[in-house]
């Protein structure tokens, strides 16, 4: 047992895909109720790390612990928002039936919900402000509205750790802020630990307590100021990186060769 009081703890992780090392020497812990931004460019290994934490991908080395147990043993305590699909099935179904499919959806039998499952679904819809969408077909909803339904599914069964895979992708800045604020509200209301992946850090700046930054096959964790600066990211990538501040916004750019 490593750290039973943590929402999640990884130690010395190495993740390999198709014989290639995607991430190495990854160690970090997420406190209960903490909001951590999982940042890094496309292909940095954000999705792979989340899949390891869900128990869907076995690490080549190292340990993962979720709430003091194995990912498989803590399945019901993890809420997961997968990266949104480009051509999802069931576009003709109503938003409510879509969310309801995830309520106890892994039990065998007919898709008939118990009273408490139904109450769970309505509550989850309410929490994400999706009650007004409930009767509309999925195909008629915007990207932001669909993203809220995915969040509702993740909230079923009252998870204690929420893993979100790039929920801001394809949203305009307004909708991005809505999603971040919604997640932050839920985090505070339910003392949820949140690991929120994104490839741009700016939408998360006001919301995250710490940042877990992936790059160059490695990871660093810390406060925004500790991690998002030239020297740390240059060491991480092994090539010059500059961090520019423009008002409240921060930009990570490849630096000039010295």
């Amino acid at each position: 047992m490593m750290q039973a009081d943590k929402a999640a703890a990884c130690h010395g992780l190495r993740i390999e895909l198709g014989g290639r090392v995607v991430l190495e020497h990854v160690s970090f812990a997420i406190e209960q109720g903490e909001f951590v931004g999982l940042l890094g460019p496309n292909g940095a290994g954000k999705t792979s790390l989340l899949r390891v934490m869900l128990g869907l991908l076995a690490p080549a080395a190292g340990q993962v612990e979720i709430l003091g147990g194995s990912p498989a043993a803590r399945r019901s305590a993890i809420g997961y928002v997968p990266q949104i699909r480009t051509n999802p099935a069931g576009l003709s179904l109503s938003a409510r039936d879509f969310v309801a499919a995830a309520a106890g959806g892994s039990r065998w039998g007919l898709p008939i919900l118990s009273k408490s499952d139904r109450a769970d679904v309505e509550q989850a819809l309410d929490l994400v402000g999706g009650a007004a969408l409930a009767d509309r077909p999925l195909g008629s909803l915007s990207g932001g509205e669909r993203q809220r339904l995915l969040l509702a599914q993740a909230l079923l069964g009252r998870p204690r750790l929420l893993l979100l895979d790039e929920p801001l992708v394809n949203l305009d800045p307004h909708r991005q802020r809505d999603v971040v604020e919604l997640v932050q509200k839920l985090q505070r209301q339910y003392k949820l630990a949140v690991l929120f992946s994104a490839h741009d850090l700016n939408p998360l700046l006001g919301a995250m307590d710490r940042v877990l930054y992936l790059g160059g096959g490695q990871a660093v964790i810390g406060n925004v100021g500790e991690v998002i600066n030239g020297p740390v990211l240059t060491r991480l990538y092994g090539s010059p990186i500059e961090v520019m501040h423009a008002g409240a916004r921060i930009f990570v750019v490849p630096g000039a060769q010295p």
């Binding site: 128990g55 498989a72 999802p88 109503s94 309801a100 499919a101």
Partner: protein
């Protein structure tokens, strides 16, 4: 003169009712998962099974059933490996029709067998076949009842379903085995070439006009039953083939639902 004075019409109505029920339910999930092509493909390979069975002196129904189930299981295991292999799949499918034709060539009652298998022969359903259809229908519906909840979850949100411990491959294999069984049953009524009409038509029409799961399942079954019953009745009084009428009604219902759906969205757009 009532058509129910004839035993063959009683049998035909009973057989068509069983198959319509199965086709509506299985078809709903097939359309939801965008796997309608599977039904089509399984029917084609089923033709080889049916004719092969005739050749070795076994009932074509059992040849059909065993090959479509085996085909469904194989498709489930291959999974994504089958995606974007249109040419390879096309070749396998035409090859199975060709092989079926060759098998029948060695068999004497050639012409009637071919049309019965390709286009169905619901008026020729005898009592033993009816019993077999009832048993197969019960098996496929029981199977669907057991897997429908996780199947729905896995169809709509595969990544989340997997994270909650569902085995996607196993579900896919089980579902396609049930589709194989349902395909074999449909082929008894409308023939292997027209399975689409009973399995996909009603379910696709239902999903056009309702967004609610249970309403959709109910409508899919209802449409399939109406198409089968009305098709048989029209065939009896017109003397035209029942498979023709069933396909015509299936297309008609689909088009009507399409029009109803587009009317509804236009109203939405105006109202909004």
């Amino acid at each position: 003169m009532s058509m129910f004075q004839y035993d063959f019409m009683d049998n035909a109505f009973a057989a068509a009712s069983i198959v319509a029920l199965v086709a509506g339910l299985v078809g709903y999930f097939l359309v939801l998962r965008a796997q309608t092509f599977a039904g089509h493909a399984l029917a084609h390979v089923g033709f080889t099974g049916a004719t092969g069975a005739v050749l070795i002196g076994v009932s074509p129904l059992w040849g059909l059933v065993s090959v479509t189930i085996a085909g469904g299981i194989l498709m489930g295991f291959l999974g994504e490996k089958l995606a974007h292999r249109d040419v390879a799949i096309g070749i396998v499918l035409s090859m199975s029709l060709g092989l079926g034709l060759l098998f029948l060539h060695f068999f004497t009652a050639y012409a009637t067998q071919v049309t019965a298998l390709l286009f169905g022969n619901v008026l020729g359903v005898d009592l033993p076949t009816l019993r077999a259809l009832a048993v197969l229908g019960l098996v496929s519906m029981a199977g669907l009842a057991v897997i429908s909840r996780p199947l729905l979850f896995a169809s709509l949100q595969p990544e989340l379903a997997e994270a909650k411990g569902l085995r996607l491959r196993l579900l896919s294999v089980l579902f396609l085995a049930i589709v194989g069984l349902a395909t074999a049953e449909c082929a008894q009524i409308v023939g292997v070439l027209l399975v689409f009409t009973l399995m996909v038509g009603p379910a696709a029409a239902a999903q056009k006009i309702t967004s609610r799961l249970f309403a959709g399942l109910t409508l899919a079954v209802l449409f399939a039953l109406i198409e089968a019953w009305l098709g048989l009745t029209l065939a009896f009084y017109s003397n035209w083939p029942s498979s023709f009428w069933i396909t015509a009604l299936s297309s008609l219902i689909y088009v009507l639902c399409l029009l109803a759906a587009s009317g509804r969205t236009r109203q939405h757009a105006v109202g909004a």
